[in-house]
Amino acid sequence: MNTIQTVCPYCGCGCGLYLHVEAGRIEGTSPSKLHPVNGGSLCVKGWNAHEFVSHPDRLKFPMIREDGRLRRASWDEALDLVARKLSGIKTSYGPDSIGILSSAKCTNEENYLMMKFTRAVLGTNNIDHCARLCHSSTVGGLAAAFGSGAMTNSINEIPEAKVLFVIGSNTTEQHPMIGKHMLEAVDRGAVLIVADPRRTQIAEFAHIHIRHKCGTDVALLMGIMNVIVNEGLVDVDFVRRRTENFDAFEEILRRFPPDVVEGITGVKAHDVRRVARIYSMEKRSMLFYAMGITQHITGIDNVRACADLVMLTGHIGLPMSGLNPLRGQNNVQGACDMGALPNVFTGYQPVSDSKTRTKFERAWRRKLPGGPGLTVMEMTDSAYEGRLKGMYIMGENPLLSDPDLSHVREAMKRLEFLVVQDIFPTETAEYADVVLPASSFAEKDGTFTNTERRVQLLRKAIPPVYESRPDWEILGDLMTRMGYRMNYRGAYEIMEEIALLTPSYGGIHHHRLQEGFGLQWPCPDGNHPGTPYLHRRKFARGLGTFIPIDFVPPDEPPDREFPLLLTTGRISFHYHTGTMCRRTMVLDREEPECYLEMNPLDADRLGLKHRSMVKVTSRRGSIKVRLYVTPRIPEGSVFIPFHFKEAAANILTNPAVDPNAKIPEYKVCAVRVEPLHAPREVEKPPVVDLEDLRIT
């Protein structure tokens, strides 16, 4: 038996684990005891990470659609077809009629290649990936405020912190190993503040649990900052030396005294004051946030509010003190770093900057486009309207992950040519013209970057199953066929090229990652030990900027027809669209079906029984789910996990997006819940009209 050190393929914690290989088969997984993130633990997904690798459903050979059916093809045939079709579309409709979805599940090297393929070979900037749907507001919001959008501290600093302020993150379920460190900190005497409308597990440990209304985060944070300013808790020195634009910001802050905030958010003014005092008085305060902040039409504003809060109190640029967005996918940080985004190259170097462009043009020997490309949602719209003709989707499943699925389905149907490259047949692959089988995390080399910017090596444990090939090989082959010669001998050579072109990855090479547990960027040169915390002495952009923001209510508040507020999220046993975890025996057995969480008061009023089947309807569609009555969710709201294709929550969600980040508002939409069987007299619940609460 052999053990291979590698990285968990599920969430952004980036736990270190070992795969146990016996006679060419993966027989087990075990945690790394000394790893700085997980230190001997894994969550249930990590413990079972080996199982899906050899699942019989794995895509086994390339397939081509012929007469409406997919048939087996050879690699040559499939890749030639892709090359021919994409070139054809490019010549007849122009490069911008092709859209590329890269993947936060693939390695840095693969994302880099995909980016190079899009920009150098296809000649368009239409590349994006699912970060759009989770943390694009972070990337945009923090880039404006600090000049760099990533977790500022390291995970193993958490136990030493004194105050933890967690907002919009179900940490113990979604980032279990970060949750582990948080509990450790609480054991050591830290104060834990959780702001979440749901009573999550982490909230059970909170000293203060704030249950504000969904979508009122800006008001809450502004209220807190208002108190900080009025009570003289501002770190004046920090604001003077390291930030700018405070005056304009203070102006707007005046509009949010705690009692007004109480009216908007439903949080007692007294609690707002308490949180403000506790958070600002302790230097070792860490602020954490996740999807609860970003997935709103005001996503960017929410992030800016968080950034303003840490700048106001000067809680940044020190160990145990900073602003920490928790990234979801195992390599979503890496995919963003690698420039799988429509407006930047690797390391967030803007495509609009002609100097940067020249650098890449010289390296790649191709003319590169300068205008920003389309985002995920824009690609769908544009395909729907028939302007986008071809798409290449690598390791993503928009037909379950994007909001308003019926619209997405129609868009996919209208495409002239769709390539899907994945490890399992996905919902999206049903519409593909060519399906390419990729290798899973256990069958290839590469690197993943976790949420704390730690670049870690992924190691090949077994040869690719069936005819599958690693994504980087497929892309290299395709690029060669399209007339751009690629001859990387291994993922390490791609990493070398990345290091050459990306200042923050400048010193990251595979041989440096062999020993130990990876390096945290920025790591500018070959001797640099990596950076555990960011913005020491100086922000990436120089001075931090206060950005004035205002409160905007959610796009679709509940009303008479759709009286309940739906919020979506994840559960610990599953992961996103479930392509991997739902093929893992234990995980799928635990939560085999979708459910809807509802407060007992709402359930009583609607005459609905625990565990009965209900129909949930929004303006966009309806699904059938089992009802789960629990006080974890506040009155007036309901919660659905979005993993299940049988009852896809995203049929219901609202595709309204943040105007800048283009992130859809997954966290708030209005729905109606009805019993599926034996309808009874239904009383109308009271209506919450958020419009009345708008501040002008």
Partner: protein, 355 residues
């Protein structure tokens, strides 16, 4: 007949090399991140003779996380078998010798034997067990999490081992505890010598010094009594459970736990039936047909885990279902583990006594 010998350290690798001729040699090795893991030994000098306890336990060699049991062809015509039914036994028959096992893990294997080879025999375990030979090393430097001392499952064993070796500085004191072990040593007896008085004295000294190094001294009998006398209420278990992440790590990492589930994989080449590790910490573990979950509340499951180890095991086998290896303390993200919980129960019982 005393089956005791002394082996010079210089001869250890020669001996292991001889053993490797007949069996796959498994030993504790350091991996990239300096973690200790048991795996096939390529280079004998890479074996780490003095190391913290491995994670996972060597249980996986007897009861792997994913074990193919048998495969079946011919249930459908599409697997190219002309409809002829063919069942092949996929039991693992590799002969292994595992070197450097800890005493607690050997004790755990004894418990597994009692469970899997009792009235109901588990053929998959039996086959692997028959082919596995354990060489244990007395721990002369227990980890901070270890508490085998109070359970009598370590740091050295009086009986129940195959071969037990004690590090005496420049030589090993070798004890053989099974007929096969005696045969193994005898087959190569030209470099083993009979122990002298000084060897016994040195061995005793090592035992003493090892015992003195334990940081945790936990006796599980106290908590058992407390539970039996009804002093541990549900609110206590609720408090413990609140920290549970439902990761299953406690069962996965415990060398005594044996929860498993069975699944069929329908491959193009035929159907494969496999069993895989499971955990009673999951609510689905006891799901009934029809979807009823008898243990839906987390607290019921945590309580059951402890009851099994502290109450039911002693009742049926006379031994605790825990060998004090301390792995659950490492693996649990919520810091719920046997040592901590036992200590808490004791505190609870003491408090009640005072009141």
């Amino acid at each position: 007949m005393k089956s005791e010998w002394v082996l010079s350290k210089d001869h250890l690798s020669y001996w292991l090399r001889q053993l490797r001729n007949e069996r796959e040699l498994i030993g504790p090795l350091r991996d990239g991140g300096k973690d200790i893991l048991f795996r096939t030994v390529d280079m004998l000098h890479e074996i780490v003779l003095e190391c913290p306890s491995s994670l996972p336990s060597p249980k996986g060699f007897l009861f792997p996380q994913y074990e193919a049991m048998f495969s079946c062809r011919g249930l459908s015509l599409s697997d190219g078998s002309d409809g002829k039914r063919e069942i092949s036994d996929l039991r693992d028959r590799t002969r292994r010798v595992i070197f450097g096992v800890r005493s607690c893990d050997v004790s755990a294997v004894r418990l597994l034997d009692a469970f899997c080879l009792g009235k109901l025999r588990d053929p998959y375990y039996e086959e692997r067990r028959r082919n596995t030979f354990l060489i244990s090393l007395v721990c002369n430097n227990p980890d901070p999490t270890c508490f085998c001392l109070g359970l009598g499952t370590g740091p050295y064993l009086e009986e129940g081992f195959d071969i037990q070796m004690t590090d005496l500085g420049d030589r090993y004191f070798v004890q053989a505890g099974s007929p096969e072990a005696v045969r193994t040593v005898r087959a190569m007896n030209f470099f083993f010598r009979k122990p002298r008085k000084v060897d016994y004295e040195d061995q005793y000294e090592v035992f003493l010094s090892s015992k003195a190094r334990f940081r945790k001294r936990i006796n599980l009998e106290g908590p058992r009594q407390a539970i039996l006398s009804g002093k541990v209420g549900d609110d206590f278990w609720q408090e413990v459970t609140d920290r549970c992440f439902e990761c299953g790590g406690c069962s996965y990492s415990c060398p005594v736990c044996t929860c498993f589930t069975v699944t069929d994989r329908i491959n193009p080449e035929g159907i494969e039936r496999a069993r895989l590790w499971d955990s009673c910490m999951f609510k689905g573990f006891t799901r009934m047909a029809g979807g009823v979950l008898p243990n839906e509340k987390r607290v019921q499951r945590t309580k059951r885990w402890y009851y099994h180890k502290l109450v039911h095991y002693p009742r049926t086998t006379g031994k605790f279902g825990c060998v004090g290896c301390g792995r659950c303390a490492v693996a649990c993200p919520g810091k719920i583990d046997m040592a901590r919980t036992a200590t808490k129960i004791k505190g609870l019982a003491l408090k009640e006594e005072v009141e």
